[in-house]
């Protein structure tokens, strides 16, 4: 019954892509919020070293022991980085940029040296081979399940479980580390656990998307989600939705243009981020512009109301409270003056009688709200 499902190659590829995205979003959300996004870059690169070592030692590429072993190199990177920072000789960003290239370099050289013994070439290291995940299968209950699907599924479950169980603690440790510490939640330990899971996810995702594209899956969907919402749980939801959409759209575009599937999926996460950046409901660039324009218009209306209110019922009213006078007294050009008067009339703040502008009760209320704020 399930056999056609596992024989469906496109489905398998997209599923692996989705799982990479979902598992990465689960850990990436906290990394982005903590401002440690670039650690995923460092981890992604340095697990290459771990993967090669583990392969040379055990001659097996997948399995829990292999994943944990290789993931330890990710943790090693973080540990060495903090060690360097603690000597106070090197700043944090420089320390990150010193440690991972070394481990990555050793990994690449080992690949060069043992090229015949190792299942991966340097190309795969960077790009992954998500298009070929269906080639490497294990039989479960008689069905040929892709190895990548299995390990990514396991990592997704593990990450999901970690986030669910420690949601409260992670939330507190992310937004208020000192309080978390004071309450005895050991934010440091939690963070290391999070990084261990990030490394594990990187190792599991390595065959599919390689070392660098992994970074896109960790950072970009949570960042896009961060631009869309203020709620942590919604960030997870949006991040996962973006991962799924990127995986599906990336697959079809890649097939249509005959390009790297993993690369295209990562590019699509970027496209969604750009969309969120431009058109997000509250933090989007367009929303910001609209808000600013609304604010400006409101100010113009208020200025007009105050001006009219000041001269209301006074002798010079006939001279002051006409559209023409606004040019001189408020330094508005003719077009602007006409536009503001027009808008104020439409909104029922101002009435025009011949040339003379009158405030309506609503318009007067606006002016008094500004001039006599104490009464409001």
């Amino acid at each position: 019954m399930l056999a056609p499902l596992f024989d469906n190659i496109p489905l398998m590829i997209m599923l692996v892509g989705m799982l990479v995205g979902i598992a990465s979003t689960l850990v990436g959300t906290f990394l982005v919020l903590r401002g440690s996004s670039m650690l995923s870059d460092a981890i992604g690169h340095s697990i290459v070293f771990g993967i090669v070592i583990v392969w040379l030692l055990t001659h097996q590429q997948s399995g829990p022991v292999q994943i944990v072993g290789a993931a330890l190199t990710g943790l090693l990177t973080v540990f060495l980085t903090e060690l360097l920072v603690n000597t106070q000789r090197v700043k944090k960003d420089a320390a990150i940029g010193l440690v991972f290239p070394v481990l990555f370099s050793i990994g690449v050289l080992l690949l060069n040296l043992y090229a015949r013994d190792v299942h991966i070439d340097t190309h795969t290291v960077l790009l992954g081979e998500i298009g070929f995940v269906w080639l490497d299968t294990v039989s479960i209950g008689g069905y040929p399940v892709p190895q990548s699907l299995l390990s990514m599924g396991a990592m997704t479950l593990l990450n999901g479980l970690f986030v669910l169980v420690f949601f409260k603690e992670l939330k507190l440790a992310t937004f208020d580390a000192p309080l978390a510490k004071a309450l005895g939640f050991a934010p440091g330990v939690l963070f290391y656990a999070l990084l261990m899971l990030t490394s594990g996810t990187a190792v599991a995702a390595f065959d599919a998307v390689g070392a660098v594209l992994f970074v896109a899956f960790v950072i970009v969907p949570p960042s896009a989600a961060y631009l869309l919402t203020n709620r942590l749980w919604l960030m997870f939801v949006y991040g996962m939705v973006i991962s799924v959409l990127s995986s599906v759209s990336g697959y079809y575009l890649a097939v249509a243009w005959d390009v790297s599937i993993g690369g295209m999926m990562a590019v699509m996460t970027g496209v969604f981020l750009l969309l969120a950046f431009l058109a997000g409901p509250h933090y989007g660039l367009l929303a910001q512009l609209a808000r600013r324009r609304g604010q400006r218009r409101l100010n113009e209306n208020r200025t007009l109301a105050v001006h009219l209110y000041n001269h209301e019922g006074e002798p010079e009213q006939a001279v002051e409270n006409v559209t023409r006078a606004l040019r001189e007294h408020l330094h508005w050009d003719a077009a602007k003056a006409r536009r503001v008067v027009q808008r104020s009339r439409e909104q029922g703040h101002v009435l025009q009688e011949g040339e003379l502008l009158h405030l309506t009760p609503a318009g007067r209320a606006i002016a008094r709200e500004i001039l006599e704020p104490a009464k409001f």
Binding site: D93, T122, L126, V212, L213, A216, G263, Y283
Partner: protein, 381 residues
């Protein structure tokens, strides 16, 4: 092959010159990047160069180094701009901005790379070498371009030396002097993109980050002056670059990038450990020395205060009691005090044999203890 043969070998000449140029430009510009806490910008700019490499190739139709490097420069600059736009106009922080541009530009590069491979263009061979670098593929004509870029960048740095220095250390003061701080910062960023462009051929896009950071961090340990740091970083960059590139050219099948990075990084490790004053080893030695001196002074003043409390300048203190008082073994400190003649062992009279070995202050010891206490200020005790 003898050394003379080596030096006359065309490929090796190219490799050495190319690596030297790379070391020079990345050492100098990296110093500014590290001082301005923009180390990871090099990482982002180098990854972001990949789509530019591919587009340059697509436009030129051949592996024309000029158009490839120009493409790399443009896409690096675009990435920097995008990163600024993202962090200035949204609530994303710098690290997220760096990571986003790094990974999505690189992904775009991967997509373009596979697109080019799909077109079966015969000239595409060698584009892969921009991932990890392939020093042996360097041509004489490439060197002219790399050299031109390096000379231009170094010329700019020496022309605007004072301005760059000020912007790196105190941007707000620079702004108050009326310097165009934003433009200077943009210029420094663009020049890092230039260094990345020079390095593409030698170390590749992935490891270029370390080439920006490592020489500068190593040089920082040896010098407290910007002049010294920049010169030293250039020297370390050139040395590490040439050494790594030679290793790669002489060994078959070892990628150049990793070898260069490892040789430069070993200079970093040595510098962090052994540089005078800042070296970590010296600090540990200093720390141990001062801890030991402190212990020795503590023991001496303890003996003095015991004597004072008992109003007996020849008061005898047992070793065990002093140990208990300090919560640790004081044997070493006492031996040192004994060597300097500040304490002597009590020669026990026959009627009190169990007082043998107890410590007694000498007049010199009393004098020394008073001097230490005076220097600390007695009221503090």
């Amino acid at each position: 092959m003898t050394i003379l043969d080596w030096l006359q070998d065309y490929t090796i000449q190219n490799v050495v010159i190319g690596a030297a140029l790379l070391g020079l430009i990345s050492g100098v510009l990296g110093s500014f990047a590290v001082l301005r806490k923009q180390s990871l910008l090099g990482d982002t700019l180098s990854h972001a160069a990949l789509p530019g490499v591919c587009i340059g190739f697509l436009i030129a139709g051949t592996r024309n180094i000029g158009s490839i490097l120009f493409g790399a420069l443009v896409s690096g600059a675009l990435a920097a701009l995008l990163m600024l736009a993202l962090t200035r106009n949204s609530r994303l922080k710098t690290d997220a901005g760096l990571g986003i541009t790094l990974s999505t530009f690189f992904a775009l590069g991967v997509v373009l790379l596979t697109y080019i491979q799909g077109t079966n263009n015969a000239a595409q061979g060698g584009l892969d070498s921009f991932l990890f670098g392939q020093a042996a593929a360097t041509l004489r004509s490439d060197l002219w371009i790399m050299g031109g870029i390096t000379v231009a960048a170094l010329g700019l740095v020496s022309l605007l030396w004072k301005e760059f220095k000020l912007v790196s250390f105190d941007p707000s003061y620079a702004a108050s002097l009326g310097l165009p701080v934003v433009w200077l910062e943009v210029l420094l960023t663009v020049m890092i993109a230039l260094a990345v462009v020079v390095g593409l051929q030698m170390v590749g896009v992935v490891l270029m980050a370390a080439m920006i950071i490592a020489p500068a961090v190593a040089a920082r340990q040896w010098s407290h002056r910007l002049e010294g740091m920049v010169l030293l970083a250039a020297a370390i960059g050139v040395g590490g670059g040439v050494f790594g590139a030679l290793l790669s050219a002489l060994s078959r099948g070892l990628a150049t990038g990793p070898l260069i990075i490892l040789s430069v990084s070993s200079v970093v490790i040595v510098s962090l450990l052994f540089a005078p004053r800042r070296g970590f080893v010296w600090e540990i030695v200093r720390l141990r020395r001062s801890r030991r001196r402190l212990r020795y002074q503590q023991v001496l003043t303890t003996l003095y205060q015991l004597a004072a409390a008992h109003a007996d300048s020849r008061y005898r203190s047992g070793q065990g009691m002093i140990d208990t008082y300090h919560g640790t073994s004081t044997q070493r400190a006492l031996r040192k005090l004994h060597r300097r003649g500040y304490v002597v062992r009590h020669a026990a009279p026959p009627e009190e044999p169990n007082t043998a070995g107890q410590w007694v202050l000498t007049p010199a010891g009393i004098h020394e203890a008073e001097r230490i206490l005076d220097s600390l200020g007695r009221e503090a005790l």
